[in-house]
C-alpha cells in the first residue's frame, strides 16, 4: 500500500507477513479442503499475540494501535491476510472486540479479553444490516419481562462451529438490538456449511426461543443502529484491504506467468491483446488501493465522507477484485482452474469478500440513498 508507514506500522505488517508465511503457507492450507476448522487454536492465539485483535479496542480495555488510527493499522494486517490468503475470522473478531469495547459494559469484559487474546472466537450474526429494511431482518430480538428472546436464523456466519460467542444483531420494534451470547446457550443450533474459501469456514446459526438476561445487551435495547453501522464500516475496510492484498498476489502471479510462458515462440507478455488486459487489471488494482486507503483514512479520522467512501470501496473492490482474479485465471488458462495451483486461493478470497458485509449492489443502494438525501438537502 502507498500509505506512508511509520516504523511501528512497518514492523506490525512485517511480523504479520512473516508469521503467516511461516504458519499458514498455501501448501499447508491446501490440505484444509475437508477440514471443518481451517486453522488451529495455536495459530489464532499466536496471531492475537501480534496484536491482530487490539487496534479497535480502547486502551482502557487493554487495546490500542501503533499509529493511534486503529482501522488503518488493521487494514495493514488485513492486507497481509489477503496477500497470504490466510485463514481465521480476523474481521468478525475485530468487529466483536470493537463492539464490546465501544459499549463499555463491564459484563462483557471477560469475553472481550478472551477474544483479544485469541483464546476465544467470537462470530457475528448480522440478522439485520444497514442496507436492509426491517422486513428483511432474519433475526428478531424482543423483550419478555427481564429476559430477551432471540428468534430467527442467519447465514453465512464465519467460524460458526468454533465460536465461543455470537454477537447477534436483530430487529426489535423500532430499532436494532445487539446482544453477546455464549455459543452454548440453549436454543442455538449451528450447522456447518460448505463454502467458497478453503480455509475460512462458515455455518448457519439458528435461534429458537433463545432466552438471555438483559446483561447480554451490547448497547441499549433497540438503539444499536449507529453502532452496527460503524461495525459494518470497519468490517468493510478490513475486507477491502484483504481483497486488495489478494488481488495484488493474483496479479503478481499472472504478470510473472506472462513473462515465463511462451506460445508461438513469444512470451505471453508480448501480445498486445494481453498487454491491454494487464493494463486494465493494473488500473483496477491501483484504483482499489487508492479507494481502500482513502476509506481507511476517512474512517480513522471520523470524516463525514467515511460512509460513502467505504461503500464505494466495498462496491468497487467487490466487483473488480473478482473480475481481476477471474481475468488472471483466463491468463493462466487450464492450469488456473486446478486445485494444485495457488491462484484459486486468491480467487476464492476476493469472491468471498465480495459477498460478506454487503454485496456491491447493497452498497450501491446505500450510496444512492446517501446521494438522494444529499441532493434533497441541497
Amino acid at each position: 500500500m502507498w500509505h506512508e508507514l511509520s516504523s511501528d506500522q512497518q514492523l506490525l505488517r512485517d511480523t504479520t507477513a512473516r508469521f503467516l508465511t511461516d504458519r499458514v503457507p498455501l501448501d499447508r492450507q491446501r490440505k484444509n479442503k475437508d477440514s471443518t476448522e481451517g486453522f488451529t487454536p495455536e495459530y489464532w492465539s499466536g496471531g492475537a499475540e501480534l496484536g491482530w485483535i487490539m487496534p479497535l479496542v480502547s486502551e482502557e480495555n487493554g487495546g490500542g494501535s501503533v499509529s493511534g488510527r486503529g482501522i488503518v493499522d488493521l487494514s495493514l494486517i488485513a492486507y497481509e491476510f489477503g496477500r497470504h490468503a490466510a485463514p481465521g475470522p480476523l474481521v468478525d473478531c475485530n468487529v466483536v472486540a470493537s463492539a464490546l469495547s465501544d459499549s463499555g459494559e463491564q459484563t462483557h469484559a471477560e469475553a472481550l479479553e478472551a477474544v483479544m487474546m485469541g483464546s476465544a472466537i467470537a462470530s457475528v450474526c448480522l440478522g439485520v444490516a444497514p442496507w436492509q429494511t426491517s422486513d428483511e431482518a432474519t433475526i428478531s430480538i424482543t423483550q419478555d419481562g427481564d429476559e430477551l428472546v432471540i428468534e430467527g436464523s442467519v447465514k453465512p456466519v464465519e467460524s460458526a462451529g468454533q465460536a465461543a460467542y455470537f454477537l447477534i444483531t436483530g430487529y426489535s420494534q423500532g430499532g436494532v438490538t445487539q446482544v453477546l451470547v455464549p455459543a452454548a446457550t440453549q436454543g442455538i443450533t449451528v450447522k456447518n456449511l460448505k463454502a467458497i474459501d478453503v480455509s475460512r469456514k462458515f455455518g448457519a446459526v439458528s435461534f429458537e426461543n433463545v432466552r438471555v438476561p438483559a446483561s447480554a445487551l451490547v448497547g441499549a435495547f433497540g438503539q444499536a443502529d449507529a453502532a452496527v453501522e460503524r461495525q459494518v464500516l470497519n468490517a468493510c475496510v478490513m475486507l477491502c484491504a484483504e481483497s486488495v492484498g489478494a488481488m495484488e498476489s493474483a496479479f503478481e502471479m499472472a504478470v510473472d506467468w506472462s513473462f515465463e510462458r511462451y506460445t508461438f515462440g513469444r512470451a505471453l507478455a508480448s501480445y498486445q491483446a494481453l498487454k491491454h488486459r494487464f493494463a486494465d487489471m493494473k488500473s483496477w488494482l491501483e484504483a482499489s488501493h487508492a479507494i481502500c486507503d482513502s476509506a481507511a483514512d476517512a474512517l480513522a479520522d471520523g470524516l463525514a465522507r467515511a460512509p460513502e467512501t467505504v461503500s464505494s470501496a466495498k462496491a468497487y473492490i467487490g466487483e473488480n477484485g473478482v473480475e481481476l482474479a477471474q481475468d488472471c485465471v483466463q491468463i493462466f488458462g487450464g492450469i488456473g482452474v486446478t486445485y494444485e495451483h495457488d491462484l484459486h486461493f486468491f480467487l476464492r478470497r476476493v469472491t468471498l469478500n465480495r459477498l460478506l458485509y454487503g454485496t456491491p449492489g447493497d452498497h450501491r443502494r446505500l450510496l444512492a440513498q446517501m446521494q438522494i438525501e444529499k441532493e434533497m438537502a441541497a
Binding site: 488500473s283 488501493h289 464505494s312 443502494r365 440513498q369
Partner: protein
C-alpha cells in the same frame, strides 16, 4: 528596481482589493466556454481580451512571467494566492489554456529574447490568443509521425500540410507548430518548432462539426505559408526536444503556474444532470436496479478522485508514467458514467427540448459522445500500452519507424511524402 519579492500575504490582500473593485461575478460561459452561437462567442472573446487587458493594466497579469516581458516575476505561490482570491469572479477563461499554457510557457522556455519580447507582452495585454498546432489528420496518437512540412527558402520557411483538433482556432491569432524539416533521418530527429501567424496568407481554418453539432475544434490547412526564419524556435531538427516539454506543459493544463483561473472552479465542458435528477424525471428513482446504477455512478466519481490523489503522490516520488493509469481509469469510468445516465433516463433519452439542453445538456447526446473521454488527450489504447510497457515492463510493440529515415517509413498507400 528592487529585487525584494512582495510577501505572498500582502500580495493576496492587494489582489483581493483589486479583484473586488474591478471584476464582476463568474459568467456561465466562463465555466463551460459554450456559447449559443458564433456571434455570442465573438462577444465573449472580445470581453475576454478586454478583461485580460484590465488585469494587465491593474498590474496582475503574468504573475509568474519575468518582468522584462511585462509580467510580475513572482512565484507560483503568488499565482495560487491570486487564483484563490479570484474564486467566484469573472476571468478571461479563453486565455487560460492553451494561450498561457502550453503556448506561453513553451515560448518562455525555448524562445529567444526577441521572440519573447514580440509575443509575451502582447499575450499579457490580451492582444494575442494562441493555439497549439500538434495533432494531424494522419495520426492522432503517433504525435511524432507528423507530415506537415517546412522547407527552407532563403530567410524563410515554406509550410505545407494540415493540423487538426485545434480548439477555437477560428478566432485565434497565433499558433505554435511542429513541422517536419528533415525526411532523411528517423522521425524524432527531423522536426522543428515554429511560431505561425494564423492570419498569414495560405492559412485556411475550417471548423470541425462534431456529431452533436458543436464545432469548437478546427482543422487548419497550410498552403505555401511563408514563415520568417526569425519565427523558428530552437535549433533546426531539434523540435522533438521542445515538443516533449511542450506536451509536458500541456499535461499540466490549468495547474500550470502561468495560468490564472479561479480556484475551485469545476473545469468542465459539460453541465450534466445528476443521476438522481435523471432517475426522478424518468420515474425510476425508487427502482432498486436504478438505485444500484445511481450508486455506481457516485462510486466511480469518488474512486476517480481517490486514484488521482494516489497517482499524484506517486508522480512526486518515482514514476511519472503512473499518470497513464489515471488517464485510463478516468476514460473508462467516464464512459461507464455516461452509460449509466443514459440507462437511468430510459426512453426519455431519445428526445429533449432546447430548454432542457441549455440547462443540463441532453443525456442521449452525451451518450452518443461518450467515447470522447477515451479519445481526447491521448487514447486509452495508448495509455494501456504505456501501462503495460513502462510500468509492467512488458515488451514494446513492434514499430515500423524505429531507426528508419522518415521518408521510408510506411505511411499507407494514400499518403504523400515531402
Amino acid at each position: 528596481m528592487s529585487d525584494t519579492i512582495e510577501p505572498v500575504e500582502e500580495f493576496r490582500l492587494r489582489a483581493r482589493e483589486w479583484i473586488n473593485a474591478n471584476l464582476g461575478p463568474l459568467q456561465p460561459f466562463d465555466r463551460t466556454q459554450h456559447c449559443k452561437d458564433d456571434e455570442e462567442e465573438l462577444v465573449a472573446v472580445a470581453r475576454d481580451r478586454a478583461l485580460q487587458r484590465k488585469i494587465f493594466d491593474g498590474s496582475f497579469a503574468g504573475i509568474c512571467m519575468p518582468k522584462e516581458y511585462g509580467g510580475l516575476g513572482l512565484t507560483p505561490e503568488h499565482n495560487r494566492a491570486f487564483n484563490e482570491e479570484l474564486a467566484g469572479h469573472e476571468y478571461p477563461s479563453r486565455f487560460a489554456v492553451p494561450t498561457f499554457n502550453p503556448c506561453a510557457s513553451t515560448i518562455l522556455e525555448f524562445c529567444t529574447a526577441e521572440q519573447k519580447a514580440a509575443h509575451l507582452p502582447a499575450i499579457l495585454k490580451g492582444d494575442e490568443v494562441w493555439v497549439q498546432l500538434l495533432s494531424e489528420p494522419g495520426g492522432g496518437s503517433d504525435v511524432a509521425g507528423i507530415t506537415t512540412s517546412a522547407v527552407r527558402d532563403g530567410d524563410e520557411w515554406v509550410l505545407n500540410g494540415s493540423k487538426v483538433w485545434t480548439s477555437r482556432a477560428w478566432w485565434a491569432d497565433w499558433g505554435i507548430i511542429l513541422a517536419r524539416t528533415n525526411w532523411d533521418v528517423p522521425k524524432h530527429v527531423g522536426m522543428t518548432v515554429f511560431l505561425v501567424n494564423l492570419r498569414a496568407p495560405g492559412v485556411d481554418i475550417q471548423r470541425i462539426v462534431r456529431l452533436n453539432g458543436e464545432s469548437e475544434a478546427c482543422q487548419e490547412f497550410f498552403t505555401d505559408v511563408r514563415i520568417p526564419d526569425s519565427d523558428r524556435v530552437g535549433e533546426i531538427d531539434a523540435g522533438w526536444t521542445i515538443g516533449t516539454r511542450w506536451m509536458f506543459h500541456e499535461r499540466m493544463g490549468h495547474n500550470s503556474p502561468y495560468v490564472t483561473y479561479p480556484t475551485g472552479m469545476a473545469l468542465s465542458s459539460s453541465q450534466e444532470d445528476s443521476p438522481v435528477s435523471i432517475a426522478r424525471k424518468s420515474g425510476k428513482i425508487d427502482d432498486p436496479a436504478s438505485r444500484e446504477l445511481i450508486g455506481e455512478h457516485r462510486e466511480l466519481g469518488i474512486i476517480t478522485r481517490a486514484l488521482q490523489g494516489r497517482i499524484a503522490d506517486a508522480a512526486t516520488k518515482a514514476n511519472k508514467d503512473m499518470s497513464a493509469i489515471d488517464r485510463l481509469f478516468r476514460g473508462v469510468a467516464s464512459v461507464r458514467r455516461s452509460t449509466i445516465a443514459f440507462e437511468l433516463a430510459g426512453s426519455g433519452a431519445s428526445v429533449w427540448d432546447e430548454d432542457e439542453e441549455a440547462a443540463t445538456d441532453a443525456v442521449g447526446m452525451n451518450f452518443l459522445m461518450r467515447q470522447i473521454s477515451c479519445i481526447g488527450g491521448g487514447t486509452t489504447e495508448i495509455s494501456r500500452n504505456v501501462v503495460a510497457e513502462r510500468i509492467l515492463g512488458m515488451p514494446r510493440e513492434a514499430s515500423g519507424d524505429k531507426g528508419v529515415p522518415f521518408r521510408e517509413v510506411p505511411k499507407g498507400p494514400s499518403r504523400s511524402q515531402g
